[in-house]
């Protein structure tokens, strides 16, 4: 039974919760079982945020991820906190624009992506999360790109369709970067 368990973490403003929602949304559209669980509480606003996403073929029990197939760390505190959650052989995606250090894990696959810089090139820091999502798409079979694109369209809604291009470009940039380094 295939089950993808993702932890995505970063600063409040980095759209990390949205990244997770897009994944869950995409998974749902592919008829998969999905859960999305955010950190919450007063200490969250303006502070660090993280979410757990599970995409599975079977009914999902615990929605809290203790053994992650992939951890996405958008800043250093997130890496410090969640590095150990990656299961052996799993993925660790770092935002190298903000994370100064390399991973200390040798039993996992690590990919460092300067998502802020890439997003900057794409024209807005605010799509950094989508760049990271693209990178993830390139490495994982969890969901199809098409589903993610529909998810983005749905989330933007009729009002914000003008933001679609920049998001799609960001997605592609992320995919491109990840595939490049993979090759």
């Amino acid at each position: 039974m295939a089950e993808e368990r993702i932890i995505a973490a970063g600063f409040g403003g980095q759209g990390i919760l949205m990244l997770g929602k897009l994944l869950a949304h995409a998974g749902m559209m592919e008829g998969k079982q999905v859960t999305w669980l955010p950190s919450y509480g007063p200490e969250m606003r303006g502070g660090t945020a993280n979410c757990n996403v599970i995409i599975s073929d079977a009914v999902i029990g615990a929605p809290i991820v203790s053994e992650a197939t992939c951890v996405i760390a958008m800043n250093l505190p997130s890496l410090d906190r969640f590095e150990s959650f990656v299961q052996p052989g799993g993925w660790l995606l770092l935002n190298s624009s903000l994370v100064p250090r390399a991973s200390t894990r040798h039993d996992v696959q690590v990919l460092a992506i300067p998502v802020n810089d890439i997003a900057h090139q794409q024209g807005s820091l605010r799509v950094a999360n989508v760049v990271m999502l693209g990178a993830y798409l390139a490495l994982s079979q969890a969901v199809r790109k098409a589903s993610v694109i529909t998810a983005i369209e749905d989330v933007l809604g009729p009002g914000k369709q003008h933001l679609l291009p920049i998001n799609l470009n960001a997605l592609d940039a992320g995919i491109a970067f990840a595939t490049k380094v993979q090759v």
Partner: protein, 248 residues
């Protein structure tokens, strides 16, 4: 060279958790300075509310009790009746004091309880994420009044000072603001006077301080100060509403 200004000894120095530019921090400083200048810090007991100021017990450099939401005046009454020589003050938000805690504040005032209330009015529920408060301005959008508070069905902002000033046993009721240095100086004098009256066993004193919530107002801290001046003060006129000593 002499020190013109430094962190008050009335504060523990524990870094405060408030959002950037939130004036809760300024109000904490003023209260702390007043306690030090009146030389009552050592016998002061703070009563922390439920609200963003819940951690006030970490910040004021004196003993403290954390009270249930809205009940700080009752808790303060309990403390003061047991230890009349302590200087007991509550620090309460507008949801805490003007909504769920309305009965407690009115009755502490009615009983002329010899306590001091610092009432921080930021026209919103900060801690829970920006819901409507009884003090929310008409037209002000919040997460539970998405189209803005409407007079019809939600009424007009509650003016706590004006209401409590009608109660005979109150000693001092004032509304101040901290959006500018001159205002901030007035605010400090009001807080000192309120506490001084308690020292003199004159009875119930309350100082309402207009405050900001940049995070839930969706404004920068600087714009939030302006919003206080331009929108809140017209709805909440500053001034002294009750002073048993007649003066202002």
């Amino acid at each position: 060279m002499k020190t013109v200004y430094q962190k008050s000894a009335g504060l523990t120095g524990v870094p405060m958790h408030y959002c950037p530019g939130c004036t809760h921090g300024i109000i904490h400083k003023l209260v702390a300075e007043a306690l030090v200048e009146l030389d009552v810090l050592g016998r002061a007991v703070a009563v922390a509310p439920v609200g963003c100021a819940v951690f006030a017990y970490e910040y004021f450099n004196c003993d403290a009790q954390q009270a249930a939401h809205g009940r700080a005046p009752a808790v303060a009454t309990g403390i003061k009746r047991v230890r009349p020589d302590n200087i007991v003050f509550t620090y309460q938000g507008d949801g805490d004091l003007a909504s769920i805690g309305m009965a407690e504040i009115v009755h502490a005032a009615m009983g002329g309880e010899n306590i001091t209330v610092v009432f921080v009015n930021n026209a919103i529920y900060g801690m829970t994420g920006g819901q409507m408060a009884p003090t929310t301005l008409v037209g002000q959008p919040t997460t539970t009044s998405p189209l803005g508070r409407s007079r019809l069905g939600q009424g007009a902002p509650l003016r706590v000072c004006e209401m409590l000033a009608t109660i005979e046993a109150t000693a001092y009721i004032a509304r101040v603001s901290v959006h500018s240095i001159p205002r901030l100086n007035v605010a400090k004098r009001a807080l000192k006077k309120a506490l001084q009256l308690q020292v003199e066993n004159k009875g119930f004193s309350l100082v309402e301080v207009l405050s900001t919530c940049p995070t839930n107002w969706g404004l920068s801290p600087v714009d939030a100060l302006r919003w206080v001046e331009q929108n809140m003060i017209p709805a909440y006129p500053l001034g002294v509403f009750k002073d048993i000593e007649g003066g202002t």
